[in-house]
Amino acid sequence: MRIATADEVRVLPDDTAGEPAWKKLTRQGWFLAVASPVLMLVLWEILVRVKLLDARFFPMPSVVIQDLLTQAMHKELWIHTGYTISRMLIGFVLGAIPGVLLGIAMGLSPVLRQLLQPAIAAIYPIPKVALFPLIMLMFGLGESSKWVIVGVAVFFQVLMATLAGVVNIERVYLDVAADFRARRWQAYRTIALPAALPFIFTGFQLGLGMSLIVVVIAENFGTEKGLGYVIWHSWQIFEVRDMYVALILVALLGYLSQLLLARIERAVIPWRRPVRQNLNT
C-alpha cells in the first residue's frame, strides 16, 4: 500500500492467524469431554488418599467402583434397580396419559379450560411430594401409593406442557386448516397433535425427571426394595459406600432415561431442527 497521506487504514490479514495450540486442542471437544470427568475422579481419588477429603463421606472412586462391580454380580442390586424402574415407569404412564389427554382437551376447548384452569393453577405450585403423606394415608404404604404419587407429579407437568403446546399453536396453522376445510378430527390429527408434540415431549422430560425425584423419596417409606430405599437405608445404618453405589445407579437411571426419551422424541418428531451445536462465542 503506497498512499502517502497520514490517514489511517484498517488492514485485515490475508489469511487466518494461527491459533494458540491449546486453543486448537480445546476445539476437539471430545478430548475435554472425556478428560474432565476422568480428571475429576482422579483428583478425588488423590484428595482422599492424601486425606484432604474425608474417606468416611467421600470413599475413593476406585473403592466405590469395585463395590459396584462386586454388587453387580449379585442379583440383589438388580432387584432394587428393577423396583425403582418399574415404579418410575408405572407412575409415569399413569400420569402422562391422562396429562396429555386432558391437556389437549383443555387446549382445544375454551370452556373446559376456563372451568378447570383456576383449580389446576391453584394445585400446580404445591410441591407434589407434600401430598405424599396424604396419599400414604389413602393408599397405604404399598406399591400403589408410590405409583399414585409419581403419577400425580408427572400428571401436572405433562398437563401444563401439553396445554401450553395446544394453546400456543401458531394461529396461522389453524387458519390454513380452516381455509382447506379440514374436518374437526382432521384438524386434530394433522394440526393440533403434531404442533403440540414438541411441548408434550418437554412435559415428558420434566415429568421423567420429577418421577425419579419422587420415587427416591417414596422409597423411604414402607418398602425394602428400590434404589431410594438403599440410599435412605444406607444412611440409617451408615453404609456410605452402599449409598454411593445406589447414587451412581440413580444417576445413570436419570441420565439413560432422558437419553432414551430424547431418542424417542427424535424418532417421533423428525421435523425438528437438530439442536444447535455448541457455539464458540
Binding site: A55, R56, G140, L141, G222, E224, H233, W235, Q236, I237, F238, E239, V240
Partner: protein, 312 residues
C-alpha cells in the same frame, strides 16, 4: 462450667439423663448440659460424628457398629435400657381378634408382623429372630414390615397387620383400648438384651475429666431410678420428671406400664451384645463383624461406680 450436648429420644429409657438434669446431678459436677431431641439412629450417628453432640442415648445397633467400623470414633459406655427380667418394656402384641389363633411362635407362620427398624439392624430384630427360631420359623415364613410405633398401633386397629412389636406405653394403651392383647414381653423372649446404651462421642472422649463427671451424675440418676421403682425413693418424683420430658405425658400410664431395665452401675451385657452382632452379621444386617472391645469402654462407669460407692 463445662458444656456438654447430649442427645436423647424423649423415651422412658432416657430416664437417668432427665433425672440427672432435673435433680441437679449434672450441676453438682459442674456440668452445663444441653439436651437435644433426636428421632432416629441415623440422626444419632450423624450428630455424634459431626460433633453436634458430645454424648447420646441410643441403641447399640448395626448403624452404630457400622459407623465405628468406618472410622467414626465413639464408644458405648453404659447401660441405658435392657430387658432385665421384669422389665418388659417391649412386647409382642397380637390383634384382639386373632388372640386365640396365635398362641405359640409356630402360629406366626404366614402372619404379618410389623416392627420398627426392620432390616436396619435393630435390637428387636434379634428378639424376633429368637422367637421365630424357637418356633422353627425363618423371617421369610411370614410377612415382615417396617413401621413406626404409631403406625403399628394404628395398623393393628385397622387390621392391616396381625402382630406388632410395641414399646411402652403403647403396649399398655392398645391393650386397654381393646385393639390388641399382650402376647409376650421381650424379657421373656430374650432376657437381658442390651437395647439401649449411653454413648460418648469424640467431643467428650477428648475431655476425660468431663466424661468422668458426666458418668458420675448419670449413675447417680440411674440409682435413683432403680430406688424409685423399688419403692425406696419417691416414685411420684420420678413420674413427674418423666412426664415432663418423655413422650408419655399421661401420669396414669406409669401406674400400669413396665419400665425399662437400667443397671445401677451402668454395667453393659457385653456377651449379649456380641451375640447380637453375630446375629446381624449372619442375617445380612452388617457387612462385617466388629470387635466389641473396640467399641465398648466400661472404664468410665467403673471409675464412677468406685467414686459413688466410696462416697456412700
Amino acid at each position: 462450667q463445662d458444656k456438654v450436648k447430649v442427645g436423647a429420644y424423649s423415651s422412658v429409657s432416657d430416664a437417668p439423663l432427665y433425672i440427672a438434669l432435673e435433680k441437679g446431678f449434672f450441676k453438682e459436677q459442674g456440668l452445663d448440659v444441653e439436651m437435644v431431641k433426636i428421632d432416629s439412629g441415623a440422626a444419632l450417628t450423624t450428630l455424634l460424628s459431626t460433633g453436634d453432640l458430645d454424648a447420646s442415648g441410643g441403641s447399640p445397633g448395626a448403624g452404630v457398629y457400622n459407623a465405628v467400623r468406618q472410622g467414626l470414633q465413639f464408644k458405648i459406655v453404659a447401660d441405658k435400657g435392657s430387658t432385665l427380667p421384669g422389665h418388659g418394656y417391649f412386647a409382642f402384641v397380637v390383634r384382639k381378634d386373632l388372640a386365640d389363633q396365635i398362641k405359640t411362635p409356630a402360629d406366626l407362620k404366614d402372619r404379618s408382623l410389623a416392627v420398627t427398624g426392620y432390616k436396619v439392624g435393630a435390637s428387636s430384630e434379634v428378639t424376633i429372630g429368637k422367637l421365630l427360631a424357637s418356633g422353627g420359623l425363618k423371617e421369610s415364613d411370614l410377612k415382615m414390615t417396617n413401621m413406626t410405633f404409631g403406625d403399628i398401633a394404628a395398623a393393628l386397629g385397622t387390621k392391616k397387620i396381625d402382630v406388632g412389636v410395641l414399646i411402652e406405653p403403647l403396649v399398655t394403651q392398645v391393650e386397654a383400648q381393646g385393639i390388641a392383647t399382650i402376647w409376650k414381653r421381650a424379657d421373656t423372649v430374650y432376657p437381658n438384651q442390651q437395647y439401649g446404651a449411653l454413648m460418648y462421642g469424640p467431643g467428650i472422649i477428648k475431655r476425660q475429666a468431663v466424661a468422668d463427671k458426666f458418668m458420675v451424675a448419670y449413675l447417680k440418676a440411674a440409682r435413683f431410678y432403680n430406688a424409685a421403682l423399688a419403692g425406696k425413693a419417691s416414685k411420684d418424683e420420678l413420674v413427674q420428671i418423666l412426664t415432663k420430658h418423655t413422650t408419655v405425658k399421661n401420669p396414669e400410664l406409669y401406674k400400669t406400664m413396665k419400665f425399662p431395665g437400667i443397671h445401677p452401675d451402668g454395667k453393659l451385657n457385653t456377651a449379649g451384645m456380641a451375640e447380637d452382632v453375630k446375629w446381624w452379621h449372619a442375617n445380612g444386617r452388617m457387612k462385617e463383624e466388629v470387635k466389641l472391645s473396640d467399641i465398648v469402654d466400661q472404664s468410665y462407669a467403673e471409675r464412677a461406680k468406685k467414686q459413688l460407692d466410696a462416697s456412700r
